[in-house]
Structures are given as C-alpha cells and as structure tokens.
C-alpha cells in the first residue's frame, strides 16, 4: 500500500487536524468524539445543518463546513459511518435554537447511527429533522431493500440547504428543500480502478487492465456490473442514459450538471467527460445552466467518475448561486 500516512489508525484524526490548521478562520475541529463545526458556531436563531459519514470522501463532508453550507460534519473511520455520539455532540454544539437538520446519505449504517443520535438530541428537547439522500440510479429502488445510495446529490443538497438556512428559512422549510433537491437529482458512477482502505492495505477489488465497474457507490465497493473498458464518450452515455430516463429529465428542463472525480481521475480527463455530458444533454434539449466539475465526493484514490444532474428552478438556482465560504466550495465571498 502506497499512501502518505503515518498509520491507518491515525489517518482520520491527523487529517482533520491538518484541515483545522489550514482553515482555522472558517472551521473548528473537535476531537473525541470527532466533529468539525463552523468557527462561529452556534449561530443564534439559524437552523443548523449537520452531516457526516465515513472518511475517504473528502472534501465531503468536512470540507463543506462553513458559512452558507454545513454547520457541522462528523467524520467516521474510512468508509465507516460515524457513531451516534459524534452526531449527538455536533448537534448540541451547533444548535442555534431553531432546530437542526441531519442530512444523511442512505446507507444502513449512516441512517441507523444518525437515528440514534437524533433520539439522544430530541431527549434533550433539541428539535431535529433528518432527510435521507438516495439519488443513485444504479441501484434498483424497492420497499424491501435498503434502497438507493446517497451520492452526488448530497453535495448539492448541502450547498442549497445551507444557503436557505443562512437566509433564515425554518427547519421545516430547509427539510422540505432538502427533499426537493433529492427528488430532482439523479446520479450514477463508474470506476476504472479500485481503491485501498488504509487498514486493509490492499485494493478492495481487483479490476483487470481492460475492464471497468459500472454503477459503483462511494465506498470502493464493486458496482452493479463489470464490463470491458470503453471510450470516455461511451462511458458518459452509459452513465447519463439511466440518469435522464429515471427522473425523467425532459427537453426544456434547466439543470445543474455535476461531473465528479472519484479521486484518482485527473481534471484533464474529467473535462473530456463533462464535454460529452454537456453535448448529450444539449442535444436532448436539456439546458445546462450551472456546472460543478472536480473531485467533490470521492472514494480515496479510486480512478473513475460519477455524473449528477439536478433539475433547477429559480429557487434552487438562486440558492446555488448564493455565497458560500467553506474549505471545499467557495464563491460570492
């Protein structure tokens, strides 16, 4: 295993310590339990947003803490959802008196640990709402299964809901907005390579030189299907097709196109994918009015990409454009 770490046990703690040192003006890092809050938390009277999940997806979530986005993020061990005490302490630390929204990616572990944290917080009369993000079209949805995974739409939901909370929306309103983003966003991802979890020391799966995984999540897990390697244009079609069909996105829609790197795919390649995705949507009469391109929700050093498309309306566009000041996303300030 080739990694810039000191030991698998310390990588998360040392990494968030570095994050805190680099962005002490924006965030504050708390340890045992580990969580990251806005430097100015709690913000009196503002609805607070708390998210979290396993580490290894950086900049998500810790890099999205700051004005106009999250109030707190709880990093678990690599690819392991955080523990209830982390979310419980974070919730208490950022509660500004108008309630706390938990933005939860739909993974059994995340959902259950956030539920337990919410129970603890509510027991102390903190008003907590939880919204579960499940935008991954690679997973067939069903009442009898764990359902779809939460992936790219999480980043967009955190930015958009953060803007609404900053603007003074109520907990009910921010929760409703979060459901709206989830309802209008769809994603799908693929991997050219696996990734190596530090405490495992070897790639989670082996992928031959001429094959790729389609329909992966963000935890280095294998995808729905393994196929022969294809060109960037073909891969973009394979990912975008199911996304467009699923919502469905229709001619005349205005959308945000988010092309994400799983970590190891460089921008040179990512923009080749963006170019094709933009072309396909445009040909279908779908207007790309906002874009996000880069590594924002990653699986360590995995090479691959995921595409997320979010249907926009004036409200979502305005909130997307609103100022944001975090280590990972910043504009308007």
């Amino acid at each position: 295993m080739k990694k810039l770490i000191n030991s698998p046990e310390n990588v998360v703690l040392e990494s968030i310590t570095g994050l805190g040192a680099a962005f002490s003006d924006i965030i504050k890092v708390h340890t045992n339990p580990n969580f990251i809050t806005r430097a100015d938390a709690p913000v009196k009277g503002k609805v607070a947003l708390v998210s979290g999940g396993g580490s290894g997806h950086e900049p998500m979530h810790g890099g999205f803490v700051g004005r106009g986005m999250l109030d707190a993020a709880c990093p678990g061990a690599v690819f392991t959802s955080p523990t209830p005490d982390q979310m419980y302490e974070a919730t208490k630390a950022v509660n500004g008196g108008n309630g706390v929204l938990h933005i939860v990616k739909n993974y059994t572990g995340d959902v259950m640990n956030f539920e337990m944290a919410a129970d603890l917080a509510r027991a102390e009369t903190i008003e907590v709402e939880a919204v579960v993000i499940d935008d991954d079209v690679a997973v067939k949805d069903s009442l009898y299964t764990a359902g779809r995974r939460g992936v790219g739409a999480t980043v967009l939901a955190e930015k958009i809901c953060g803007a609404a909370a900053e603007a003074g929306s109520s907990l009910k309103e921010v929760a409703a907005l979060c459901h709206k983003v989830n309802a209008n966003g769809r994603s799908m991802g693929m991997a050219l390579t696996s990734c190596t979890v530090p405490h495992v020391g070897k790639p989670t799966f082996d992928l031959p030189e001429d094959e790729m995984e389609i329909g992966i999540g963000i935890h280095g897990e294998p995808g729905r299907t393994r196929t022969k390697l294809k060109s960037a244009d073909e891969i973009t079609e394979i990912l975008l097709g199911p996304i467009v069909e699923d919502l469905p996105f229709k001619s005349g829609n205005e959308v945000l196109l988010f092309v994400n790197s799983m970590g190891g795919t460089p921008l040179l390649e990512l923009f080749v994918v963006y170019r094709k995705a933009h072309e396909i949507l445009t040909k279908a009469g779908i207007k790309v009015t906002r874009s996000l391109v880069g590594p924002y929700i990653t699986s360590l050093e995995m090479a691959g990409t995921s595409i997320t498309v979010l249907k926009l309306d004036d409200e979502l566009t305005r909130l997307w454009d609103a100022p944001v000041l975090t280590p990972g996303l910043r504009w308007g300030t």
């Binding site: 396993g54 059994t108 572990g109 997973v139 009898y144 729905r224």
Partner: protein, 211 residues
C-alpha cells in the same frame, strides 16, 4: 440446572473479542466481496475498546455489564454493525436488569430481546442476507433445547450449529439489506460478514458460559 454468573458473561465477551481479533482479516475479506471492507476492523475496534473497560465490567450486575458493552460498541464501532450489535446488547441489558446471574431460560429471553432490538433498528427479516439469518435460528435452537430440558452446554452447541447453518444459508441469497444489496445479483455466492461474526458470538458462548 446451574445459572450463568456475571463472571461467565465476562469470559464470554472476552472470548468473543478474541475470536474477532483472530478472524478480523477474514471478516474484512468477506466484507470486501459484497461490502466496503471494514467489518473486521469495525468489530475489532469495538471489542478492543470493551476489553479496555475490563475494570468497570467487574463490579457490575449482568444488566450493567451488557450496558457497558452496548455503549462502548455504539460509541466506537460505527457502521451498521455498531448500531446493530450495540442495540442488541442495549436491549439485552434492559432485559437482564440488575441480576447477578441468569438462568439458562432467562438468558433465552435476554437473547430474544436483543434480536428484537436488531430487527426494530434494521428492519431485516430472515432471508435478507444479514446477521439476522444466523442470529434468529440460533436463538430459536437455544430456546428449543432448553425447553426440551437439555443442559446449557448442549443448548449453546445447538445454537452454534443453527447459527452456522444460518450463515451458510446466506451464501446463495441476493442481499436485500445492507451494502450488499447494492450489488444486486452479484451479492449471491458470498457469505454475509455480519452473519459470520454472529456465529463467532455463539461459538464463544458455547466455549465459556456453561463451564
């Protein structure tokens, strides 16, 4: 039939922590195939933390003992298994209460309550390819055996056998719960990591509780 003392339960937990330590890499390997390669590390982190609390464990009744195990797992494991095994011991602790020891029959009820907690949290049924596939039949076998007047050792052994059968039954299944469900058809042909760690829980019991 003799009761199970608190000290026996302590040996049970310690033995289980030992099995987890031994099987850590194997559990992670299973989780690599249909999950995210952390089940072994998760369980090991949790039970090492439990061992570190050995002092506190000593001066507690059975309920208090399980409570410490529960809170420690909940606060150190994370993931699905942390919430689930944590809930299991939390419910078991409530059921056991302030007793210094449990009768084999009482232990059956305690296990039942633990299982109920897991099902309430995880909403999984037998056949979903989860730890429930091993836990549910194991407890059923244990209670049947005790009800039939067999001794504790016999009951724990048949529970272990049932857990192992339950584990084997997870192999062909296409998962409906947990991460493995994201793989769809591809999840078939692999044993469930959580069901595997559940087998170890009963094996440890059979090796400690009745002696």
């Amino acid at each position: 039939m003799s009761n199970i003392s608190k000290d026996k339960f302590i040996s049970w937990i310690e033995r289980y922590a030992g099995h987890i330590a031994d099987q850590k890499d194997y559990l992670t390997e299973l989780d690599s195939a249909i999950g995210d390669a952390d089940h072994g590390a998760n369980m090991h982190r949790g039970f090492q933390a439990v061992l570190a609390k050995k002092a506190d464990l000593q001066n507690k009744d059975v309920g208090g003992l399980f409570k410490i195990v529960a809170m420690t797992l909940i606060q150190t494991v994370g993931g699905a298994s942390g919430a689930l095994y944590g809930t299991f011991f939390l419910q078991a602790s409530t059921a056991a209460g302030a007793k210094p020891e449990l009768s084999p029959a009482e232990f059956g009820t305690v296990l039942d309550k633990g299982l109920a907690g897991i099902v309430l949290r995880g909403k999984a049924a037998v056949g979903d390819k989860t730890m429930v596939d091993a836990l549910q039949p194991a407890i059923k076998a244990y209670k049947y055996s005790i009800g039939a007047g067999e001794d504790l050792q016999k009951a724990l052994e048949s529970a272990t056998v049932a857990a192992e059968e339950g584990l084997r039954s997870t192999i062909p299944i296409v998962a409906r719960k947990g991460r493995a469900s994201y793989l769809g058809e591809r999840s078939a042909g692999h044993a469930d990591p959580g069901a595997t760690s559940t087998v170890l829980l009963f094996r440890a019991a059979a090796e400690t509780l009745s002696l």
